[in-house]
């Protein structure tokens, strides 16, 4: 007996909410798993009526979409949660933002109206700050990078060394000087999400390969945006369809998510 948990009532999910958040400051050093734990606890403290899976080990229903790697900051991270009572997205935003530590900042919460969130995200725009590199060096490297058709770089993954083409997913790559930070230049790149993913680090490895660009200090990586790359090479806001749909219908029932 009792191989299965008692036939407990598992409250069904009645609404899905899509969350846009940022990872800033010293919290750039958190891993995705760190964020998951912090977020689950913030959900409980904020009193958001999160839905759970059934079974011996019930898990909160949270789906993450492609997380930025440990060490990278981000202005554009996304996840989706399921809740057991209809909630006002704005109240959920405020409650979660208050419950999360400074640095994990909730930017927007919208109700999921249609489609799948992962399907709306296939490309990222990154900003990489390089310290101790001149503008001329960086421009030269970028030019060579863009003129090269394919650049193989190596990365050590859990299952051994992997060779990636760092050039293939790069849609655009540019360089500007940072007026506020003397001695720094800023790369901005738009990179398609492939499997295995090519990360800004891999692009930097590619730059080093084509032109010996090797900054003396570690680069600062920040994701600026994520979304679908449209035919004009613009990134579409992945929450826009939900926002538009919400604006077109009656306002959501007002059930506060806060205690």
């Amino acid at each position: 007996m009792a191989r299965q948990p008692d036939a407990r009532e598992v409250a069904p999910a009645v609404q899905r909410l899509r969350v846009h958040f940022a990872k800033r400051g010293r919290l750039r050093f958190t891993s995705h798993r760190d964020f998951q734990r912090v977020f689950e606890r913030a959900i409980r403290r904020a009193g958001v009526p999160i839905a759970y899976s059934a079974g011996f080990s019930p898990h909160p229903k949270i789906s993450y979409v492609g997380a930025a790697s440990t060490g990278a900051a981000s202005e554009a991270e996304y996840l989706e949660i399921a809740v057991t009572q209809t909630c006002d997205p704005v109240a959920v935003r405020d409650a979660l933002d208050a419950a999360l530590p400074t640095g994990f900042d909730i930017i927007e919460v919208v109700e999921a109206r249609s489609g799948s969130l992962p399907d709306r995200i296939d490309t990222s725009r990154w900003q990489v700050t390089l310290n101790g590199v001149t503008l001329a060096e960086a421009e030269n490297a970028v030019q060579r990078f863009l003129q090269t058709e394919s650049i193989s770089v190596e990365r050590v993954l859990k299952d051994g060394r992997r060779t990636l083409d760092a050039r293939l997913p790069v849609v655009s790559l540019g360089v500007v000087e940072e007026p506020d930070l003397p001695g720094c230049v800023i790369l901005e790149m738009v990179v398609r999400h492939l499997t295995p993913a090519v990360r800004p680090d891999d692009v930097l490895a590619g730059l080093r390969q084509v032109s010996d660009l090797a900054p003396p200090l570690p680069p600062l990586v920040k994701r600026l945006a994520q979304g679908h790359l449209d035919e004009f090479d613009k990134l579409a806001d992945p929450l826009a369809p939900d926002r538009d749909a919400a604006a077109g219908v009656d306002s959501v029932a007002e059930i506060s998510a806060t205690r």
Binding site: M1, R26, T30, R37, R41, R44, R45, F56, G71, G103
Partner: protein, 627 residues
């Protein structure tokens, strides 16, 4: 240039507090001398952090051992040991308090001192260096680190840290009269803060201790432990630290009582934390509610040395389970005795949320061994308990044992296999299923100070290992049940080093320093521990002494011997400990004084304390319903 898991160094935990440096006049740095993932959840450090943080004008921050990758970077770039709260240098604080749950953190303390720029030897420190204070269970014999610490506090820390704060504050406000030595003298005069430099140790020509005497006439010959008497008045932690990084315990823990009088003769914790002091059901209920709200944790641990022994554990478990019905909040009892477990309790604990595994600690494999150690659990108790558990749907039970107990023979250890077989048999019968397992987990016994076994010879590591292998082979060779029995064991070598540090005297400090100089760090981690490094350091450090590692570990002491911790008073009467040691050799058991008359262990008399047990008949206060 990067370090593993950088998040462990960034601070910013929920409920951590950063105060303004200049507006505080007493500044504490607390350390748990192990990796962040182990140290952050430590209940002792969290309690003291909160108690001190609530005081006006007191700043308290934390630091943990840095992994070798970061240590290398810090040494290259001249970055000192820093706090995680505000990344301040440890050397700038007034007091550096280090909590030792285990002696294997000693090398990490030396490394932290060195990284902090604080002289390793207390004698070399100046008025600008922090006062280095050791606490935790290992502080009941701090002699091996006596040269490296300025002071040690024995026992409960809540009130002690406040008293120390007041003394430091007064001394600083008066313009630091008499410098560091005067401050230490003021601490020593309280009678329950141990300042090693004020106690002289003399040795006999054969290497035995001759005497330990104070070298000032206004400090006591014996230093007493602190005992906090009203746990309800000290409901800490109120706001537990919730880390960003993953740690070894991810739950909110409430101590439901302190102390234990079961009288297991190997158990230092049970001996040095007497008397039993229960926290009342309503205080526990309020702490659980506040702690969960402040943390968002999904699991509550009801902590103590033997949690099912709380006089109202049944009502407590039921009321908590009722309160958190449907909220996916699970309860856990980290230490449960075989004879105190019952099915109602188990069901309450698995009602909401996850059903964790069941762990019991018979400790000794044979009935005779359990008498020797006074475990007071019979085979019938164990079989009855696991039968209940298997019948209720549990499929796996973990059993803890020790190897190398006094008077033990190979046969006593091999009998563990019989016991495990009977457990599986009982499980298959009770559940009607063959999908039944048990795991035998076994490690070497280390005799500890302030226990009846403080005189015992520790078993050498070669014999320990051979007994463990015999047991393993017996289990694996069992064609009927062997596959259902898991076997985990720790080899005997780390236990010998732990034994050396546990019952060592001041001469052992030289070994610790040598090991650290030879690169020893994180000795509690098998991938960093090196037995050979410890043995070769001991050879060097004890070259001119008539004693060696065996003398400290595998040698039985006689009654007249001066023990290195005799001047440190845990409240236990040495004559009673000796009698209990003699009783153990005659297989005589001693009852628990909670349910039988006092048997004069000495604690209540000498400390002016008393046992505090319920039932109180109180209930959990209803929570205001939130909608």
């Amino acid at each position: 240039m990067s370090v593993s898991k950088p998040v462990q160094y960034v601070g910013g935990e929920l409920n951590s507090v950063v105060k303004d440096w200049a507006s505080c006049d007493v500044r504490w740095c607390l350390m748990y001398p192990d990796a962040y993932e182990v140290g952050l959840p430590n209940q002792g450090v969290q309690i003291l952090y909160e108690v001190l943080g609530e005081l006006d004008g007191v700043l308290v921050e934390r630091t943990y051992s840095v992994w070798p990758d970061l240590e290398a970077l810090m040494r290259t770039h001249h970055i000192p040991q820093f706090t995680v709260d505000a990344h301040r240098p440890v050397g700038a604080f007034d007091i550096f308090g280090i909590s030792f749950s285990t002696e294997l953190g000693y090398t990490n303390m030396l490394n932290a001192l060195d990284l902090a720029g604080i002289p390793i030897e207390a004698a070399d420190r100046t008025d600008d260096d922090p006062i280095v204070i050791a606490g935790g269970h290992a502080a009941f014999n701090p002699e091996p680190i006596a040269d490296f610490i300025d002071a040690a506090v024995l026992g409960d820390g809540e009130q002690a840290v406040i008293a120390i704060t007041a003394i430091v504050r007064e001394w600083k406000a008066a313009g630091r009269p008499g410098g560091r030595v005067e401050l230490l003298h003021r601490l020593a005069r309280t009678g329950n803060i141990y300042v090693p430099r004020f106690y002289d140790v003399t040795y006999k020509p054969d290497g035995h201790l001759e005497s330990v005497r104070p070298n000032r006439d206004d400090i006591p010959a014996r230093v007493s432990k602190h005992t906090l008497m009203d746990l309800d008045a000290w409901p800490y932690p109120k706001k537990p630290l919730v880390p960003l990084a993953e740690t070894v315990h991810e739950r909110f823990s409430v101590e439901i009582f302190r102390g234990c009088t079961r009288g297991c003769r190997f158990c230092q914790a049970g001996m040095i934390t007497r008397p039993v002091r229960e926290r009342s059901v309503d205080t526990i209920g309020a702490m659980v509610d506040a702690g969960l709200k402040a943390s968002g944790f999904q699991e509550v641990g009801l902590l103590s040395l033997s949690s099912a022994d709380h006089s109202e554990i049944g009502p407590l478990a039921k009321q908590l389970a009722d309160r958190y019905e449907g909220s996916n909040t699970s309860l856990s009892l980290p230490s449960t005795r075989v004879d105190a477990f019952n099915v109602d309790l188990a069901n309450e604990f698995s009602r909401n949320g996850r059903r964790s595994g069941l762990t019991f600690a018979p400790e000794g494999g044979s009935e005779r061994m359990r008498k020797v150690i006074n475990k007071m659990v019979t085979e019938a108790d164990l079989i009855r308990t696991v039968t209940t558990a298997y019948a209720q749907g549990w499929r796996r039970v973990k059993l803890y044992f020790m190897c190398g107990l006094p008077t033990e023979t190979d046969d006593d250890v091999v009998q563990i296999a019989d016991l495990a077989r009977k457990v599986i048999q009982a499980g298959r019968t009770a559940s009607g299923s063959r999908d039944i397992g048990c795991t035998v987990s076994i490690g070497g016994f280390v005799p500890k100070p302030h226990t009846p076994f403080q005189w015992a010879a520790q078993l050498d590591h070669a014999t320990t290992d051979s007994r463990l292998l015999k047991l393993r082979d017996t289990i694996r060779g069992d064609r009927q049940y062997g596959k259902a029995i898991g076997f985990r064991y720790h080899d005997g070598k780390p236990g010998i080093v732990e034994g050396l540090l546990s019952r060592g005297d001041r001469r052992v400090g030289r070994i610790i320093k040598q090991v650290w100089q030879d690169g020893g760090r994180f000795d509690g981690w098998s991938e960093h521990f090196s037995f050979d490094r410890w043995m070769s350091a001991a050879d060097t450090a004890l070259r001119d002494e008539p004693v060696d590692v065996d003398w400290y570990t595998t040698r039985e002491r006689d009654r007249a011997e001066v023990l290195p911790w005799d001047h440190l008073d845990s409240g236990l009467d040495k004559d009673w400990l000796w009698q209990d040691w003699q009783d153990s050799l005659s297989d005589i058991e001693v009852e628990d004084c909670r349910w039988t008359p006092c048997f004069d262990c000495g604690v209540c008399d000498t400390m002016g304390t008393d046992i505090q047990v319920g039932p109180t008949g109180r209930t959990l206060l209803p929570l205001t319903v939130v909608t």
